[in-house]
């Protein structure tokens, strides 16, 4: 004879404890931070400053959006920073060195990013390398390749004025187009993550990869696709940063991956997989920029900015863990 089970939690309870809370918390933190800096730091509350924050978030926002997909599957991508450099250099080679029309350069950047993503995905899905190791290796590979193909020289886009003109133009409220590019990318990512098969499988993989495999889904193939999508965003980031600098700088890039991952995590993406959102990640990216710029305007030296940013990341994740524990 067996015994009955206790009632499960109501849907309302589940919703309240859900991921939306982390997003709200991140948003609240951002708002508080903005208000705090506006009051305490002179010269912070100005339109120019806000635009600076938006502009500063553009690159990281794109990278973080891409990396969100990967983290939701329970993986990680350390190569997004140097990968971005690599794609910007590829674009430089195609548009400047080879003199091909700009649109081809843009496509080349995206393709290069997708290639990096596919290689990462294949190493992880087929060769069964742990994501940390695979993408760490690719970090060095792309860092090196960027320098190889550019012969360690920066590539300037002076001959293609249309490039910077387009991306850095400020037709709307004085906000550079790259910000709209980032938001547009985020919108596409949101659709992918929430409305498509790709998004469904991204969450499924992160939630229980084995169950997903046993359900007949081709886990290997979809993992590669997820990393490829991440790669496309790497390519997009390469375009954005190249337009900001009006050049492709092969020495740049390493370190950007940490900001990207931090943004995703602050926004509620769990490193253990199965949870995450584009909205949260974008909020996380804004939070980091706001923090940095706020501290800058306040005159805090760079060293301390680093310390404070680190503490914020630790604090955000800790809060998330405490919140999860209480809901369990």
């Amino acid at each position: 004879m067996q015994t009955t089970s206790a009632p499960a939690r109501s849907r309302a309870q589940s919703l309240l404890a859900g991921e939306s809370i982390q997003r709200l918390l991140a948003l609240a933190a951002l708002v508080i931070l903005l208000v705090f800096f506006s009051i305490v730091v002179p010269h912070f509350a100005s339109t120019n400053n806000y635009i600076d924050i938006l502009t500063a978030t553009a690159v990281n926002g794109v990278l973080a959006t891409g990396v969100t997909f990967v983290i939701i599957t329970g993986g990680i991508d350390l190569s997004v920073g140097t990968g971005m450099t690599f794609t910007s250099v590829v674009m430089g080679i195609v548009s400047v060195n080879m003199g091909l029309p700009l649109p081809l350069g843009l496509l080349a950047a995206l393709a290069a990013g997708a290639l990096v993503g596919v290689i990462n995905g294949a190493l992880i899905a087929k060769a069964k390398l742990p994501p940390f190791i695979a993408t760490l290796g690719m970090l060095y590979v792309t860092l090196g390749m960027a320098q190889v193909i550019s012969d360690v020289h920066p590539i300037y886009f002076d001959q293609e004025p249309a490039f910077q003109q387009f991306f850095m133009a400020k037709p709307v409220v004085g906000i550079p187009n790259i910000v709209w590019v980032m938001l547009g990318g985020a919108a596409v990512a949101w659709i992918l993550l929430n409305k498509t098969i790709l998004g469904r499988y991204t969450f499924a993989l992160g939630s229980n990869e084995e169950a997903t495999r046993l359900s007949g889904v081709n886990v290997d193939r979809w993992k590669i696709i997820v990393y490829a999508v991440d790669g496309l965003f790497i390519g997009l980031a390469g375009i954005v940063i190249a337009s900001r600098m009006n050049s492709a700088q092969p020495g740049l890039g390493m370190g950007y991956e940490l900001d990207a991952i931090a943004a995703a995590v602050i926004g509620g993406t769990s490193l253990s997989g199965g949870e995450g959102s584009v909205v949260g990640t974008i909020i996380g990216a804004f939070l980091i920029s706001t923090l940095r710029i706020g501290l800058s305007v306040a005159g805090i030296p760079d060293q301390w900015k680093s310390v404070i940013t680190g503490l914020v990341v630790i604090g955000a994740v800790w809060l998330d863990i405490l919140r999860r524990r209480s809901r369990a």
């Binding site: 067996q2 089970s5 206790a6 499960a8 849907r11 409305k195 098969i197 469904r200 359900s215």
Partner: protein
């Protein structure tokens, strides 16, 4: 004569270090419920996982509807028309019920890569209606109780309209009502001409539901019998290869009045409310109740795996403060958790390490160097004393059968010199033969003077094994029964005594 749905012949399969299947055969007719029984480690799950495309066979042939087939993947099996419901739940906790059921077959929207959530949820609702299931398609699976999660698995398997349905221990977490419902569904599917394989340890249930029973032992096919002609005792004999007495091992007399453990006013949230009881030396105290009554929570609070909010614990007359499990072990309390794979064992490590895991300091010298001579000796002694079936003490624990894994957990706590042993569902997932051995072990321990608290959801087990039985309901103890006066009905009454709880 109806064409065979499935015919497996000469199936062999080996894993590193383990010869799992040897020249096995299995047949399934359409319109039949075919039970598959055997001790843990007999190979039943392995054989069916081969049929379901999860493992590849090393040798032998599989015929499906008369045609020889290669089942290379779970997808291939699904496409052929073979579905499986696993023993361990294979669900994506972060996804909803409907999303889990239709993973890989999501209804598409305006474009082929876009999802159509509305249709998805509607299809799920339709499915539940046909199966008379009360599930919310939009509920997150991680928020459901285990029994409901199992229902989701069942609904998922049934949604494939397969010709063959394999069920591996489907009733483990279900109530009697739910089991009746499941059997109704199974009979309905059988009448539709489907072939159903039912793997279970619950022989009484199999007598109710199956047409034929196949017995496996040690990776080999033993026999297939008609259920109507078979006696449970006979089946058990075939399963273990020896006659097992149905009679309970004699409960040792418990005369020692000394109270080794006393709990007063223990409180922790809603699951542990004002719990007070005492445990005598050499006693086996059973704790019965419905799933969710708070039994595990009570013992976890005593063991301080979860810190209680209030309450006193007295051991051998002295009040103690237990801050955490290491304190508890220091005071001689052992906790053998419900889910031994997750909480009781380091699966990837060997028998030797697991045996000394709770008492490593004893086996290390001042600098922390582990004396492997001593650990080896201890492990070998325990393997002998508890009759643990393992090729060597170097064998990884994950390769042992459930019953032997449980024995390793017991060995660990005996090595740690604990006198108060708390067993949480000690025989869950363990076959008939090994269960008897565990019961015998428990009785021996009690005879030696150890004091045992045993949580169990199997009423016959609680009745057989306990000197006294505490019954819990919604966080409170609703009653205490001596072994003489206890009956299943009395226990169930106390276990459902919610009015008394609500009034309190």
């Amino acid at each position: 004569m109806a064409e065979l749905l499935v015919e497996m012949t000469g199936i062999s399969k080996s894993f590193p270090g383990v010869h799992a299947l040897d020249d096995c055969r299995f047949e399934l007719h359409p319109g039949e419920v075919h039970a598959l029984v055997g001790e843990n480690g007999a190979g039943k799950s392995t054989l069916m996982k081969i049929l379901a495309g999860i493992y590849r066979r090393d040798a032998g042939t599989i015929r499906f509807k008369g045609q020889e087939v290669e089942i290379a993947s779970p997808r291939a099996a699904q496409d052929l028309g073979i579905s499986i419901i696993h023993q361990e739940l294979n669900l994506m906790g972060h996804l909803t019920v409907a999303q889990n059921i239709f993973i890989g077959r999501e209804p598409r929207g305006a474009a082929p890569f876009l999802l159509d959530e509305k249709t998805l949820n509607a299809k799920a609702r339709e499915l539940f209606e046909t199966l008379h299931l009360k599930l919310d398609p939009r509920a997150r699976v991680s928020s459901l109780a285990v029994a409901q999660q199992q229902m989701v698995e069942i609904a998922k398997a049934l949604s494939f309209s397969s010709a063959v349905l394999i069920m591996d221990e489907p009733t483990a977490a279900l109530t009697d009502t739910e089991i009746d419902e499941l059997f109704r569904i199974i009979r309905h599917l059988r009448d539709q001409g489907k072939g159903i394989v039912h793997i279970s340890h619950r022989l009484e249930e199999l007598k109710q539901i199956s047409n034929r029973i196949t017995v496996m032992r040690d990776g080999r096919f033993i026999a297939t019998v008609n259920t109507a002609d078979a006696e449970i005792q006979q089946i058990i004999s075939m399963m273990v290869g020896r006659t097992v007495f149905e009679a309970t091992p004699e409960l040792p007399e418990q005369r020692d009045p000394n109270v080794v453990l006393e709990v007063k006013g223990l409180n922790l949230g809603r699951q542990v409310r004002d719990i007070s009881f005492s445990l005598h030396r050499g006693e086996i105290l059973g704790i019965a109740g419905l799933v969710g009554a708070g039994r595990t929570e009570v013992v976890r609070a005593i063991f301080a795996a979860d810190r209680p909010e209030s309450g006193q614990v007295t051991i051998n007359g002295k009040q103690v403060v237990i801050h955490g499990p290491s304190d508890a072990v220091h005071h001689g309390i052992a906790y053998l958790s419900e889910d031994r794979k997750r909480y009781g064992l380091a699966l990837g490590m060997d028998v030797e390490l697991n045996t000394v895991l709770a008492s490593l300091r004893r086996f290390a010298n001042g600098f922390g160097w582990v004396r492997t001579g001593a650990t080896r000796k201890q492990a070998l002694e325990q393997v002998q004393a508890l009759a643990i079936k393992t090729p060597s003490i170097r064998q990884r624990v994950k390769n042992l059968s459930g019953g032997n894994q449980q024995k390793v957990v017991i060995a660990k706590w005996l090595t740690a010199d604990t006198d108060i042993l708390i067993f949480d569902e000690p025989t869950r997932g363990i076959d008939v033969g090994a269960k008897s051995e565990i019961y015998r072990l428990l009785n021996d321990l009690a005879k030696q003077g150890k004091s045992i608290i045993m949580i169990s959801s199997e009423l016959p087990e609680v009745l057989r094994m306990s000197h006294r039985i505490l019954v819990m309901c919604e966080g409170r103890i609703t009653g205490e029964l001596s072994s003489a006066e206890a009956t299943q009905e009395k226990i169930m009454t106390l276990a459902t005594q919610r009015e008394a709880v609500a009034a309190a």
